[in-house]
Symmetry: C2
């Protein structure tokens, strides 16, 4: 999840790994290729890498949509819909908002810098979009937590005792800390470049750690909820063990969330898909230009 800082002015990678080629050519000096066949091979690799990225991104968007549809259909069709009145209908906001916020929006915000379309452009608008995605994800997660705390308090149910809740609350607290530290470290003009260089690998690693915590919290939460509601001895539901439609839908949602997380990690970890920072002179002026690439 963490990767080393790479500066195009000081690093040199094999041609097949240089991407985009212009950055590689500027960096590698005497090792860059002037032979047409090498350029042609690198061009084919570049196109192949871009195509694979967009295939992965399309898969991620399809999984995002599937996760949102599944969690909404589950809670509206099988769990009775939504309300904010302290009833079980209020609880239904919890899985929807946590999956949409802490998984779908979070994961999509995390891979934003990997989109080749954004490369070679001023990073600031993408940085703002990344922060906005994450802020929206954080707000939805907090509202999702409020939904369950308020439901518990209204119904005299203890808070924060299960392992699911422990993992989930740690994920949410770390996410809030990560957003605040990221905003302070990468947005404030007074933040020194040395601090940004120090923060970046920690920010990337903690981002991945939060996603792992979110996935574990979602899987344990869905599992717990299905055991709670599919008892089979209350005359209202079939038992979970007989795998009724709701159980299949819930399990399928869990599988989709795990698949979504693994695609995000695949996209974040491929070194060919990491943003190749352009040199400052390629960028239009911006107030953060001094350290635009951190």
């Amino acid at each position: 999840m963490k990767r080393g800082d790479r500066s195009s002015s000081s690093s040199c990678a094999p041609v097949s790994q240089c991407f985009p080629l212009r950055a590689a050519a500027a960096a590698c000096g005497s090792e860059t290729s002037s032979e047409p066949h090498r350029d042609q091979r690198a061009g084919v690799l570049r196109m192949s890498s871009i195509t694979t990225f967009y295939a992965c991104h399309l898969l991620l968007l399809a999984l995002s949509l599937a996760c949102v549809v599944c969690v909404c259909v589950w809670n509206s069709r099988w769990r009775g819909g939504f309300a904010w009145d302290g009833s079980s209908l209020q609880f239904n906001w919890h899985p929807v908002l946590m999956v949409v916020g802490l998984v779908v929006l979070y994961g999509n915000g995390a891979v934003l810098y990997r989109i080749p379309l954004t490369w070679g452009q001023n990073k600031l608008p993408w940085k703002i979009l990344h922060a906005a995605f994450m802020l929206l994800a954080l707000i939805l997660s907090i509202v999702g937590l409020c939904a369950v705390f308020d439901f518990h308090n209204t119904n005299k149910i203890a808070n924060l005792y299960s392992l699911h809740s422990w993992i989930g609350i740690v994920a949410a607290v770390l996410f809030a800390f990560q957003w605040a530290a990221g905003a302070a470290g990468f947005f404030l003009p007074c933040s020194p470049p040395a601090l940004r260089r120090l923060l970046k690998p920690a920010h990337v690693w903690l981002g991945g750690a939060i996603l792992i915590l979110s996935i574990a919290a979602c899987i344990s939460g869905i599992n717990e909820k299905l055991f709670f509601v599919l008892k089979g001895n209350d005359g209202k539901s079939q038992p979970y063990a007989s795998l009724p439609s709701e159980a299949l839908l819930g399990n399928f949602l869990g599988v989709l969330i795990v698949a979504f997380g693994l695609v995000v990690f695949r996209m974040l970890s491929n070194p060919l898909w990491q943003r190749q920072e352009s040199s400052p002179q390629d960028l239009p002026y911006s107030p953060l230009l001094q350290d635009e690439n951190q």
Copy 2:
């Protein structure tokens, strides 16, 4: 999780990232430093990186021990111990063997190549140790699965219906596939270097994916078990919601497993801790020398 193939003969990184320095010097050619102050700075960075690695490794070993102790104490002290007679005592082997196999041994086997002590040596003994660790982890996981399947069958309980079981069985099947593909691809002398280069990033990425699945399966499994046994209405147990000692121990085990997984990912993802492959002439002869570093 995945990282690009790096060959010391064709790649060049900033001096601060070159590690060990001998490999960097061989690789970077004209960019390598002959100035004493640069060598001194790189030496300090190298020592600092090694020290941090061993601190992380020590933490990993401590977390390994804590996970094993917790899961054993939980199942022997609170769940009545172990047997292989179809009773709930047989079930108790399941959490112990899955945590020891699919988490502790698996994670420790995964970081084996990162240990600086192993660098610059013939990779074959470490490759054999890595495969042996993983085989032992796989065997323990399979016995752990047999324990729960046999317990379920004896007690007429359905198999593989919960989300926990779906995620867990996918993790185990992928692990078995990963071990077989790894053995065929990296051990068989007839396996061509091109295949090894193709397999390596997929092997590394799938290895990380399996660990994420294992963590999610463990968290959901512990959460499920604690809800099963701490009902509070059977006159034998206090409710989970009142957080009796067993609940605290189970939750603590879950937190330890997540912490263990995050330390493994930290160790795998730091580029400074990735094995710098030595050139073939540095290595003694071995039957796999032709492609020793794949």
